[in-house]
Each structure stands twice: as structure tokens, then as C-alpha cells.
């Protein structure tokens, strides 16, 4: 059967055959209909999505320009703008500003207490903080209206934690401290400690105390202390001791005369003086002084004196330094800590410490219930590692500000606005 080409356009050539009846029917290719449909779709599509020069239509360049414009707009929207220099900036001042630097991150607290990066801050040489917001039209700008400056250290995590989180941390910290105290007492009293560690600790402590005492004496702290006690003792003697002594020695001369009348009248006899009245008065005076707790009160007064406090501070500092530099103590502590015999005493401490270690990062550093990231924690950790005393600007509601100020008034710096066009 002859094969004919029904259409001169090569795009829609379809092989057909002419049967004996003369009618024209497609060849028996099961894919031919599908191919025809696909070709039709392609031809229609290429009117709008021309790819090659032979398929280009009058829509070609406008279509391409439209696609290019759309793609360029999408891409352009991803370019950053100058936030701190932009129209949405706000200028702040910190009346309590010190020498601390400022992190560029600016946060805002949502109503649920979670913090979100909200913009960038820049500290100008004149001390003015220039803040640009990521989205000045966001609803959070109407809620977080109060700017404060907070230290970018772990205190920030504590301050920005929710009340429930802070309460939970308090409880777990208290439990750990109690466990440590209890374990310490139990260990000190344990036979294992007495058998293996007590004497060695005593030797170390005694040696350290002797060295610290000598160092404190050599440093003049002892002499200073003694000189400072003189007015205190004078005062105690004049105020507490003297009335008692006077009261008890008021009759002593008369009683001495009565007891020693003979030796007084007979100067040629060699009889010793009867000192019993004096001894009696002295004994009674001392008893009276004890009865009035004068020594205890005097000691307490001495101990409460600033000179004693200063001496003890010096002594304690030197003692800790000596202990820290003691060559024997670290090994002894390590041996004590890892001694299997003492491990039962530390079980609770370990459990409480693990509880705190598990929950503290979760509460302070992790996500605060959010689904993504905690950039406050990241800022704090970065600042801690950098070693700089940075501060960070946080916007919050008035109620949140008051709560945080109540937690740590010294840490919170209230910032004042210089221009009123901020959130």
C-alpha cells in the first residue's frame, strides 16, 4: 500500500495507508494516537515556552523577559538591606554604660517568654546604640516596647528563663547542694575515710595552715590584728570587767587589815601576809565575769571586728592558695573521689548532679519549647568563648522588664530612646 504524507509540516507527519476502499486510516501503531496528542501538546506548549529558534513565536521575548523579571525579583528579595542605616532604625542610650562592648544581635521577647533575633545593633563611638529591625511591621514591635541591655553571659540565660524554668533549676540545685553536704558528712564519718584518708588530710591541712599562718604573720596581718584589738579590749575592760572587779575588791583593804592586823602591829615578827581576802575577791570576780559571759562576748566582739574579718580573709586566701598548690592534695582528692569504697556515699550526689546536668542545658540553652533554635544561648556561648564583656540589647514588654529587673537589678540596664520612631 502506498504511504503518503498528509501534511507537509514535518512536525505533524503521520504515516497512513490507503486500504482497498480508498479510505484513509492510521497505521496500526498503538502509540500513534498518543504520539499525536503529545506532539499537539508540545506544539501548543512551545508557543509559550519556545526553546529553539525554529519554534520561536511572537511571544518568545516577552515570555523570556517575564520569566527573567520574575526570577530576578525572587532573587533580589533575598539580598540584605542596611538595617542599622535603614529607615526603621531606633537610637538608644545606656546611662549606665561602662566599658562593655555590644553584641550585634538584638533580641525581642515574645509573650510566652521565648526570645527571637529581632534586628542588629551597632554601638557608635559616641555611645549611642543604633538598632535596625528585621521586620518593623511585625506585631511583636507593638508588644516588646521596652529596650534593656543585659550582660551576654550565663546570667542572661537565667534572666530570660521562664519562672517555671527558674524554679525547677532552683529546686534541682538545692537538691544537689543537700546531697553534696550529706555525702561530705557521711564520708568524713565513714570508717573507710578514717582508715585511709583522715590522717593524710590532716597532714595536708596542717601543713597548709602552718604555711598560711607564717605567710599571714610575715605579711603583717597579725600585727595589724593585734593593734586593732587594743581599743576593743580597753573598752571591754572599762565597760564590763572594771565594775565587777571594783565591786569585789571594794572591801578587800578592810578585810586585809583585819586579817593581817598582828603583822602590821608587830613589825618585828616574821609572819607572812594573809592573802586570802585578795584571793577570794579575785576568785569571785572571775566567777562573776564568767557568769556575765564577758569572755564570750569579748571574743565575739573581737571576731566581729573588721580587723578580724580582714585577717581571716587574708588567712583564708593564703590557705586556699597553699592547698591549691599542695602537691599531695590533688592526688588525695582524686583517690578519694574514685575510691570504690566511698562510692556508695556519692550515689545520691551523682544522681542529683546528673539531673541538673540534664535539665540545666535543656532549660537554659536549648529551645525553650520552640521548634527551631535558641540564638540567645548561641550569643551567650559565643561571648563566653570570646572572653569579651559584651552586653546585648533585648526588647520586651513592661511586665517582662519589671520581672527581670526584680531578679537582678544590677545586671539590667534600662535603655532610653533618642528617637520615637521605633517599636
Amino acid at each position: 500500500m502506498p504511504i503518503r504524507l498528509p501534511d507537509r509540516n514535518p512536525d505533524i507527519v503521520m504515516l497512513t495507508c490507503e486500504p482497498a476502499t480508498g479510505a484513509t486510516e492510521p497505521l496500526g501503531d498503538p502509540l500513534s494516537d498518543t504520539m499525536d496528542v503529545l506532539r499537539l501538546i508540545r506544539r501548543r506548549a512551545t508557543r509559550w515556552w519556545p526553546a529553539g529558534r525554529s519554534e520561536r513565536s511572537t511571544h518568545a521575548w516577552p515570555t523570556s523577559a517575564a520569566v527573567l523579571a520574575l526570577l530576578s525579583l525572587l532573587g533580589w528579595s533575598a539580598l540584605p538591606g542596611g538595617l542599622a542605616d535603614g529607615p526603621a532604625r531606633v537610637l538608644l542610650t545606656d546611662a549606665r554604660a561602662g566599658t562593655d562592648s555590644l553584641t550585634p544581635a538584638v533580641f525581642a521577647l515574645r509573650e510566652d517568654g521565648t526570645a527571637v533575633r529581632f534586628g542588629n545593633a551597632e554601638l557608635t563611638p559616641g555611645g549611642v546604640i543604633r538598632v535596625g529591625f528585621y521586620d518593623p511591621l511585625d506585631g511583636l514591635t507593638g508588644v516588646a516596647t521596652e529596650p534593656v541591655s543585659l550582660p551576654a553571659d550565663p546570667r542572661l540565660l537565667w534572666l530570660l528563663a521562664s519562672p517555671a524554668e527558674r524554679q525547677r533549676l532552683r529546686e534541682q540545685s538545692s537538691a544537689l547542694v543537700l546531697a553534696v553536704s550529706s555525702a561530705f558528712v557521711d564520708i568524713i564519718r565513714s570508717p573507710q575515710f578514717n582508715a585511709s584518708y583522715r590522717d593524710r588530710f590532716v597532714i595536708v591541712l596542717r601543713s597548709a595552715m602552718q604555711e598560711a599562718w607564717q605567710a599571714a604573720q610575715l605579711g603583717g596581718a597579725w600585727d595589724t590584728l593585734l593593734r586593732s584589738y587594743d581599743p576593743i579590749l580597753r573598752d571591754v575592760i572599762g565597760r564590763d570587767v572594771r565594775p565587777i572587779v571594783e565591786r569585789h575588791f571594794r572591801d578587800v583593804p578592810l578585810r586585809m587589815l583585819r586579817a593581817n592586823a598582828l603583822p602590821l602591829l608587830d613589825p618585828f615578827t616574821d609572819r607572812p601576809w594573809d592573802m586570802v581576802p585578795v584571793e577570794t575577791a579575785l576568785r569571785e570576780a572571775i566567777a562573776d565575769i564568767r557568769d556575765h559571759a564577758v569572755p564570750e562576748r569579748t571574743v565575739m566582739e573581737l571576731m566581729d571586728s573588721p580587723a578580724t574579718v580582714e585577717f581571716l580573709r587574708v588567712f583564708q586566701t593564703v590557705l586556699i592558695g597553699k592547698l591549691a598548690h599542695s602537691p599531695a592534695l590533688p592526688g588525695l582528692v582524686a583517690e578519694l573521689t574514685f575510691d570504690p569504697k566511698l562510692r556508695p556515699y556519692l550515689a545520691e550526689v551523682t544522681e542529683r548532679a546528673n539531673d541538673l546536668a540534664r535539665s540545666a542545658p535543656h532549660l537554659l540553652v536549648s529551645l525553650h519549647g520552640s521548634t527551631d533554635i535558641n540564638l540567645v544561648a548561641a550569643t551567650v556561648i559565643r561571648t563566653v568563648f570570646s572572653g569579651r564583656p559584651d552586653r546585648v540589647v533585648v526588647f520586651m514588654s513592661p511586665a517582662q522588664r519589671d520581672e527581670i529587673v526584680g531578679l537582678d537589678p544590677n545586671a539590667v540596664h534600662l535603655l532610653a530612646r533618642l528617637v520615637p520612631n521605633g517599636p
Binding site: R8, N9, P10, W49, P50, A51, G52, R53, S54, R56, A60, W61, T63, S64, V67, L68, L71, S72, L74, G75, W76, S77, A78, L79, P80, G81, G82, L83, T114, V116, R117, F118, G119, N120, Y134, D135, D138, P361, V365, S366, L367, S370, T371, D372, I373, N374, L375, A377, A378, I381, R382
Partner: protein, 530 residues
Amino acid sequence: MAPDPRHPKAHSLPADDHTLVVEQLSIVRPDGRPLLDEVSLRVGPGELVLLLGPSGCGKSTLLLLLGGLLEVEADNWEVTGRLACGDREIDLATGHGGVGGVVFQNYALFDEFDARDNLRISLDHAPRGTAGLSDQLAGMLADIDPDQSISACSGGQRQRLAIVRTVLANQPVLLFDEPNSGLDIISSRRLVEVIRNLCRTMGKPALIAVHHYEELLPLADHVLVMDPRVARLVTLPPQAEAIERALQEAAGLDGAPPVAPTRPAARLPAAPPPSVPAPAALPKWGLAQAGRSRSAWFLRYVGEYLWLLCASPIMLLYIAAGAGITGFVTIWFGFNYYSYGGLLKSMLHDETVIGLGAVQCRVALPLICTLLFVARNSAVIAADVGNRVLTQQFRAMTNLQVPGRSYVFAAILSSVVLGALALHALALLLGAWAAQETWHLVFPTQYRALFRTLYFRNVLTPDGWPVFSMVWVFCKAALSALLAGVAAIIVALGPKPSSQAVNHSVANAIVIGVIIALLVHAGISVLTTV
């Protein structure tokens, strides 16, 4: 050749000197076998001569030589002799060039242009004094829409366009290579009548290389039969029996009875007269208007290749898809597969975004974009140039005195460089956008502006300008595109005996282009970071 008494009109032709003269022509094939040995011939003005011979005897080679298209030195041909027509005289042993406009067997029309511009480019590059579109030529185009694309033209329309295009080039001689191939007898005869009228009207000789000559004999003035056994041209009158006998001998079939023509020429049905010029044909082609300059034609090619290589919607979406997927994958997998979970994700978030931004903008997106760009465009360039070679479009351009290679290659290379720079900028923007949206998908409570300030930290200055190192990114893109484009052109310019060779050159161009792009990216990246 003496005038044929059967065509008295030949005596009334203008007495200009459009006689084709070939003297002592010798052609030796690259393999050393002689094609022609000291052959001389003369074709007078207005004469129509058929060139016959067995397949592979060298008819097309002779036409290419007369048209100045035989690449003698490149292909190791040995040619001696003298060629003259009009005021042109060429020593073929030392000189180059030709005297004839060739109408190729496959027409060699320029697919990138419509019908009008296929003629316009010929007219604009023709020597000064070209008459333009005469009534007779316009009549040949009566059924063709000037705005019609070449792919929408029928075979006959393409053939007439090719003839008119060659005539407009105003060469002294008209040369036709198998013009009746694929035509029925009536169309074939009508075509030759058109050719005959043309060459008579213009007073130019015409040489037609054909296999199927029977229906053309009544219109021919003489016949030349190439005899490959003796490397000679035999001049015969247009008589079928003598020609058949000569062809039998030339084919080495001596002694065989001559084969009678299938249909005597005298009994052929009368062909319709040549098309009458339509009154509206001339104005609608607009060829009388001032032509375009060479710069305008070059810009036209630049526009064509900018579209083809860079600006088509499918190309834009292709690059956009590559950039978008790169941006998505980098951020999605970068944040969703953190080994240490949410805590470390919070701590390292800023540095991760900064690092991913730098890696994406400096390495990942440029590399992906370059590979996509180079792979696709190497294929396009190799296919485009390869098809021009296969369909002899470059030869046609040369024959039309169009600096085709300069136009095409300069347009391709300038387009790929400009396109690479523009598309890389677009890819960087779209990759950033895709990364931003992916990041917002991962961290829905955060502001997008946070991502932007971090992502571009190492890419843009605080003033919003690219950092200096981004210059190297665009250097990589431009250099990769340029070198891959050059490689694709070189690969595609090789011999193309078939469409399969074009396919192979496409595959090779992709591989070579991608390797070049990888090497350029690696080299510049290493050199600029040392």
C-alpha cells in the same frame, strides 16, 4: 562553446563578458587519484550546461571548485589550471576564490532567519551594483510569505529561495548541484525552465550537476560527461542516446547496450509557464529598502545566539532549577542532619549560615551553574555548528560572500560570555532565595532578614557591593563558558559526513566542555586561595 542554433535567443543576450573559461584544469584527489587531467571548457553567457557522470566521479567537487568552496590546502587537493569569468581570472594553483554562485543540493538555507532575511543577507553582502529583486525573481517567490520560517517552507519553496538567494549574490556563473533531486518530472522541468530563463535574462552561464537528466535535455545547450577512467570531460550535444552511451563508458560498462531514456524528452508533458510575477510580490519582500550593515547582521546573530544559548525561557528555568535545588539541598541537609541535634544547631547556627553562604556563592552555585550552562550550551553549539557544516551553510555563506564563520563564532562566544555572567548573577540570587526559603522552612519562627545578614556576610560588603573575591567567581564563569564554547566550535567544525557525526560531536563537546569547566573552576579556586 558555440551557440546552439536551437536557442536563437541566445544570440540576443547582452554582450557582456560572462563567459566561463576553464583552461588546463587538473584536479588530484587527496588520495592521489586524478579527478580531472588538463581539462578545458568554455560556457557562454546565457548557456545552460548539464554536468553528468557516475556517482562519485567528482561533479560536486568541480562545482565547489568553480564556486571557490573547495578547501584545497586543508583537504590536500592538488589543483592547477586557470579559471576566468568576466573580470575575474584565477590561477588555481596559487589563487583562491571562485566565479560561481552555488545552489546546494540541500539548499543550505539559514534556519535561524525567515525567508526574507535569507534573501536579505545575500543582497546585503553582494557586490555593489547588484540589481536586487527583479520581477522574474519575485515571481518565483509569489507563494512564499516573507515572514515564513524556513522550517515551514515546502521543498519547492526552499529550492526557489535558495536559487533566488544565489542569484542575488550576483556571481558571474550560476552553479546548481542536483537541483531536481527529489522532484517529480514536471516540477523538475519547471525548475530548469526557471533556471534557463534566469541565466538568459541575466546573461550568465549556468552549470547544473544532475543524475536524472532526461527531462532536462530539451532545455540544455550542451552536456558535459565526466569520465573518471581518463579524468576527462566529454562534451556532447543534448541527445539521450549519445549521453547514455558516454555514461555507460564512463561507468566502465563498455559493450553493454545503451539504455534508452525512460521517457523521451519530446513526449514530456508541457510544463506550466514560469510563475508570473505577482504585482504585490516585490513590495512585500521589502528588499528594495536600504540594507543592513555588517554590524547590524552581526548583532542579529548575537541576538539569535543570546536567545538560543542564554535567554530562552527554558534556559532561564533550567538555570533557576539548578540554582534553586542547590540552595535547597545545601540548607536542608546542612541543618536537618546535624549530628549533635538541636543544641549544637543553636550554637553553630550563625557560623553555619555564614559558611554555607560563602560556599554556595563562591563554589557550589558557580560550579553547578557553570556545569549546567556548559553542558547544555556545548551541546547546542556543537549541534548548531555541526549542522551548519553538515548542511553546508558555512560554504553557502562563503559563496554568498557573507563572513559567516566570523558572524557565528563571534556571536556564539560573545553570547556565552555575556550569558554566563548574567546567568551566574541570576543563579547566585536564586540560590540565595531558595536557601532563604529553605532556611525559613527549617526555622519558621525566625526572621528572613537574619538569614540574609548572615548568608551574605562573606559575600557582600556592608555597603551591599560584592567583595573583591567575587570577581574570581565571575572570571571562572566567563572563562569556562568561553573555553567550552571554543572547544565545542572546534569539535563541531570537523568533517560531518552524516548526522551521526553531528551527534558524536555533540557528545564529545559536552564531555570536553564539562572537563574544561571543572579544570577552570578547580584551577582558579586553588590559585586564588593559595
